[in-house]
């Protein structure tokens, strides 16, 4: 079982290691420890990274996640680079003023490439590794964004693709998968049921499931959300981050990314507080945090925030642990607050995010109001998906256009009405 993998000149990854018991495995398509069922994680040679990687070598790399390639689990030069990553880190002054913060940044993965969510990061890494491991068909269990990304990047790479989604997803997420021509299995059931089915299917057809048997490689892609924020803040760590929690994987990997850059000397060490955001209708991690538990009680999701509606979160216990030890919080908000969060970000910063982002902004607001984020802290909120994919969530809450005749007086009447409505708050009126 001891790994005998030889690292290449450009990659520091050595083996897979159980996060629970420490057992090591060869870096193949496997994700669970045979001894204790703990999650397998990629192990790196940090001494080698410290000697080899500098800020300059990173900055000389491509304008994508692959500038951090030595920290990612791929063994060959043949990576799939579709321009994923290096999304804007926007200083959000208007939102900050509205909330009462002084230094707030939005990491905007709503404009990630190619499919407008952070999932492009994890899929770029997973499919690069899948190809190295010889897979010709790739698959996933998805709440929507992952299906979009897996289908798109598989199309680019010429891999066959079969994705599994719950049958009640938003229309934009289904269409945004079908367009790339994969096989789509829409399962009658919630995401946890889809995930369980995929866990049973994973080893039966010789497919690479990005978030099951390729999960150790896939999840490493999220570390780039940590690296980029450090680099974009001028090689500094923030004081506080707020990110959405679904399985908890993203949260733990941002943490790992920060730790690694400190470990190899790319950034000065500093305490960073980690706060997580869940929707009230699916908040098993927030509940465990608030009740002081070190285990997660699964729930059956009921929320408009479908992209983060995971009732049985794989990395939940690790997310709770990180929030506790960094002096952060895990908070939940209801569906109405999520819609308000989407609108607030759009109206103050010009960023249209989906329900997960609305959850993050609403929790950010709640934490500030509760005094759990200091106005002086440099805070980064991670926006992980695009609002055009979840239009159903905000329909009916955003007003309607004024339909007018192509005549000046029709316009003037409508303008007068719009000013009146601004004063009265918006209500539906036919012009």
């Amino acid at each position: 079982m001891t790994a005998t993998y030889t690292k290449t000149s450009q990659s520091a990854f050595e083996a897979l290691q159980c996060k629970e018991c420490g057992a090591e495995y060869e870096p193949k398509a496997t994700h669970v420890c045979e001894l204790c069922f703990g999650p397998l994680e990629v192990k790196y040679d940090y001494d080698w990274l410290r000697k080899t990687v500098t800020r300059e070598t990173i900055q000389a790399g491509p304008n994508s996640i692959w500038r951090y390639r030595p920290f990612l689990p791929v063994a060959t030069d043949n990576v799939i680079d579709v321009g994923t990553g290096m999304t804007p880190l926007l200083q959000a002054n208007r939102l900050a003023r509205r909330l009462g913060l002084k230094k707030l940044y939005i990491k905007n993965d709503a404009v990630n490439m190619p499919t407008l969510s952070f999932k492009d990061r994890v899929v770029s890494v997973a499919l690069s590794r899948a190809r190295e491991l010889g897979f010709t068909t790739v698959s996933c269990a998805s709440t929507g964004n992952l299906a979009n990304s897996t289908a798109a990047i598989a199309a680019h790479a010429g891999l066959d693709c079969c994705v599994f989604i719950p049958s009640d997803l938003e229309a934009g997420k289904v269409l945004g998968t079908l367009i790339y021509g994969p096989t789509v299995m829409a399962v009658h059931g919630n995401y946890d049921q889809v995930n369980r089915l995929c866990s049973e299917v994973a080893n039966t057809h010789g497919w690479g499931f990005v978030n099951i048997n390729l999960r150790p490689y896939y999840s490493e892609g999220s570390k780039t959300l940590g690296y980029e924020v450090i680099e974009q803040l001028g090689w500094q760590l923030p004081d506080h981050i707020v990110a959405p929690l679904a399985s908890g994987s993203l949260f733990t990997k941002i943490y790992k990314g920060f730790k690694e850059f400190v470990e190899v000397g790319l950034v000065d060490e500093k305490a960073v507080r980690f706060s997580g955001a869940q929707a009230e209708g699916c908040s098993p991690i927030a509940k465990a945090f608030q009740e002081g538990r070190d285990f997660i009680s699964p729930v059956k999701p009921n929320t408009i925030a479908k992209s983060i509606a995971i009732g049985n979160p794989a990395d939940g216990v690790y997310a709770v642990d990180i929030a506790r030890k960094t002096n952060g919080n895990i908070e939940s908000v209801n569906d109405a607050e999520i819609v308000e969060g989407i609108k607030l970000l759009a109206e103050t910063e010009g960023i249209f995010t989906e329900t997960a982002g609305g959850t993050t902004i609403a929790v950010l607001k709640k934490l500030v109001e509760a005094g759990k984020i200091d106005p002086e802290e440099t805070t980064v909120a991670y926006i992980t998906g695009n609002g055009l994919k979840t239009q159903e969530a905000v329909q009916g809450y955003i007003g309607e256009p004024f339909t007018i005749e192509p005549k000046l007086d029709s316009f003037e009447r409508a303008l007068e009405r719009s000013r009146t409505l601004d004063r009265l708050e918006w209500q539906q009126v036919l012009v």
């Binding site: 204790c36 369980r196 978030n211 099951i212 699964p298």
Partner: protein, 91 residues
Amino acid sequence: MAVKVLIPTPLQKLTNDQATVECNGETIGALLESLEANCPGIKARLCDEQGKLRRFVNFYVNSEDIRFLDNENTPLKDGDEVSIIPAIAGG
């Protein structure tokens, strides 16, 4: 009384590469003992030193997570299907 148990890949070395095993047991707890009798060594992989189910393994009875039922006391009847599934997946 027979219950069909679906065995995950990491445990199939203990079941002669069989993906399903027929077992007996009035409850999940009793089923574990029956499994151990058929496939020695399997219980130590599913349970920790205190004999409790490990936190990274999930049990389902006819597709329902036993944590929504009665955990290890969940009753079983003839023809039930029990799935043992690694908890780490997805997201």
